[in-house]
């Protein structure tokens, strides 16, 4: 297994109390595999990824418990300088907002080349040649001419390609993409997702795709982890989850999005709001919004049950997963 996250907890100490952003997350990705982490804002999907990358701000963040195994080695036990060697070379991240993630006063060539100068000790000239090569690889037209240009001279889609090029520079084994196409228009989004999927196949990388878009997930993922209030509530191969969700939250999400290919009736709306992380409800965190909630849901935190009826491994953190699967 390329990456295994085990029982990860992350909390933030704030003036108003302790915000429990991640409460015992387990997931794994293999080489060549795409795991989609799906969730709304505040579900802990990005914080988990930041913990894996080692870019969490500590303090105010804190990892009181958990393991992050990268090829069997626990990253949380590494010293900061050892960790830095892993970051970029072995695993890389693509952010949502390319414009604010790129340095506006450095040319894209310099920013891409920096990777090779810092990690590989290359000369400036060689690094520039490498930068052109990378830009070709992510299909930026006229790479040779554009390598000296600045981020603002590129369109949104082209900027996101540069972010991808930067992540790929040292041929990492794992890529974490945090909402890589959310800021892009649909036609450009399709171009960028296609490129990402193709490069992943070519280099046999593991990919963690963090998103809130159920459509994007269906298009590229192998398996999905749905997060709610800092926990994984359902984990399954992509086909299974869309066919029959085993958690009421997943079901609610699928029912609440309008369809492109048919005109629907009134949308199903999950009532209420996502919980405040300073005061997560006791029992199942979803219980105040759940149509199936019973007394046990208000007192007992559901473990991640194995969905035994499924031929492929899948799990659901609902006391009533059986009813949900068949309902």
């Amino acid at each position: 297994m390329l990456l295994e996250v085990r029982d990860l907890h992350v909390e933030f100490h704030t003036r108003d109390g302790v915000a429990k952003a991640v409460n015992g997350v387990n997931y794994s990705v293999d080489a060549g595999e795409t795991l989609a982490v799906l969730g709304e804002s505040g579900s802990g999907k990005s914080v988990t990824a930041q913990a894996v990358m080692g870019i969490l701000d500590i303090p105010p963040g804190k990892i009181p418990q958990g393991e992050i195994l990268f090829k069997g080695e626990d990253l949380l036990k590494l010293k900061e300088d050892e960790r830095r060697k892993v970051r970029g070379a072995k695993m890389a991240m693509i952010f949502q907002d390319a414009l604010s993630s790129l340095n506006p006063v450095l040319s894209v060539g310099e920013q891409l080349g920096e990777m090779f100068i810092v990690h590989k000790g290359m000369s400036k000239k060689d690094a520039r040649a490498k930068a052109v090569e990378l830009m070709d690889r992510v299909r930026i037209p006229a790479a040779k001419e554009r390598v000296g240009q600045y981020p603002h001279q590129f369109s949104g889609g082209m900027r996101q390609r540069i972010m991808i090029a930067m992540a790929l520079a040292l041929e990492p084994e794992l890529i974490i993409a945090d909402e890589p196409t959310t800021a892009l228009d649909v036609t450009v989004q399709a171009q960028v997702m296609d490129l990402l999927a193709e490069l992943q196949r070519e280099l046999n990388m593991g990919l963690i795709l963090i998103t809130h878009d159920l459509g994007v997930v269906a298009d590229v993922a192998d398996k999905i982890a749905v997060m709610y209030a800092g926990r994984i509530v359902e984990q399954a191969p992509v086909h299974e989850i869309y066919k029959a969700p085993a958690h009421p939250y997943t079901r609610g999400l699928l029912d609440s999005i309008p369809r492109l290919d048919q005109k629907g009736q009134e949308l199903y709306a999950i009532k209420g709001l996502p919980p405040n992380l300073l005061a997560i409800p006791p029992g199942c965190a979803f219980n105040p919004r759940c149509p199936m909630a019973q007394d046990v849901c208000r007192t007992d935190v559901p473990p991640l049950y194995e969905v035994t009826e499924s031929p492929v491994p899948r799990s659901s953190a609902c006391h009533f997963w059986k009813e949900c699967l068949h309902g």
Binding site: V186, T187, A218, Y242, I270
Partner: protein, 362 residues
């Protein structure tokens, strides 16, 4: 054979649905907005213009929702501002009940704006953080005191909060005490305060989480039925636009590429841009990912300061021919479909319009 006849019946039924209800409430004719590009500091001279909106025409009927979709930079938000006369149009007219609002100013404009209100995209920046909810909604009555006499305003605001599904006791709270979805409800309450006939919604749900989006969409549909509102619904999310709209217009680089009923646009698109746009939408159905007809466009949207000659889409179009570079296609029912009983017979600005189903798995 039996299959064919039911299909014909379905088409006939769709064609016969009474979409047109009397006089249009808003008529937009050849609307243009060009932003000047200047050079020099002391002696500014105009060196060009960004043609953000470049000749848009459509009608809006009472009680209907007209969706406008397009990518960023296509001019859809500028259209919204022009309809409110928040931006002065460079050319063209917007008739509200026969009166051209682009020519109005002062008291006459104020009177018209009472009937045309707006809901903005970002509920975090469109509400003043230093004002209470009661002041934010009540401010509309300061500007239009004829709607609610002073003594009744507080009760009226509480009624409005109730209508949009917020607790009327929240009247003294500040925007930061609400979640994103609740804030958008406040924005909607403000839009409703003056009992308008038309509400222009510019990306009203795109800043919200999926589970909250559905709540706000349902609320907007309920309010439309209750108050017989007309919506101009501007968004980039094609699934949401289909859900809420009766008719849909597709914009590209300041012009409408295609306009028709939701079924005409989504099931029978004839403009290549609409087809590409629809096929690029990721559908939440993993089964469909292999079976769907996908068109991946190359390149980016050209600059509106220097749009391509002829058809604006030709630089990214796979069907483009010489004619497309020289002759600008007009927005009309394509000749080949004219007079035919088919849902492909709707307005489309393409020389080589043909039907292609891109939303269903093949």
């Amino acid at each position: 054979m039996a299959d064919l006849s039911t299909n014909d019946e379905a088409v006939a039924a769709a064609l016969d649905t009474p979409v047109r209800r009397g006089e249009p409430i808003l008529q937009v004719r050849n609307l243009k907005k060009h932003f000047p590009l200047t050079q020099g500091i002391l002696f500014k001279k105009q060196v060009g213009a960004v043609k953000a909106v470049d000749g848009v025409s459509f009608d809006l009927y009472q009680g209907e929702t007209l969706g406008i979709v397009g990518e960023s930079g296509c001019g859809k938000s500028t259209v919204a501002k022009l309809l409110m006369n928040l931006e002065r149009a460079t050319a063209g007219e917007v008739f509200y009940k026969g009166q051209d609002i682009t020519k109005l100013s002062g008291r006459a404009l104020k009177a018209v704006r009472r009937n045309i209100q707006m809901v903005f995209q970002d509920p975090y920046t469109s509400l003043n953080p230093r004002m209470t909810v009661g002041d934010i909604i009540g401010e509309t009555f300061d500007i239009h005191p004829e709607v609610a006499p002073k003594g009744e305003r507080r009760r009226k605001v509480q009624d409005l909060l109730d209508v949009v599904g917020l607790n009327p006791e929240y009247i003294n709270r500040y925007p930061h005490q609400f979640s994103g979805g609740q804030r958008q409800r406040i924005g909607i309450a403000r839009g409703l305060a003056l009992n308008p006939e038309i509400i222009i919604c510019d990306e009203p749900v795109s800043a919200l989480d999926v589970s909250v989006q559905a709540q706000v969409i349902n609320l907007m549909e309920k309010l439309q039925d209750e108050f017989n509102l007309s919506y101009v619904f501007i968004a980039h999310d094609l699934s949401i636009v289909r859900h809420i709209s009766d008719r849909v217009g597709v914009m590209y680089l300041g012009k409408l590429a295609e306009i028709g009923t939701d079924e005409e646009i989504y099931e029978h698109p004839t403009h290549p841009y609409t087809q590409a746009l629809l096929s690029a939408v990721p559908v939440p159905d993993p089964q469909a990912r292999a079976d769907r007809d996908r068109i991946i466009l190359t390149g980016d949207v050209p600059s509106p300061a220097n749009p391509p000659s002829g058809c604006r889409f030709r630089t990214r179009c796979w069907k483009a021919q010489d004619k497309c570079a020289t002759e600008q296609p007009v927005l009309a029912v394509p000749e080949r479909f004219r007079g035919q009983k088919t849902l492909a017979a709707h307005e489309s600005a393409c020389h080589f319009a043909e039907e292609r189903d891109v939303v269903h798995a093949g």
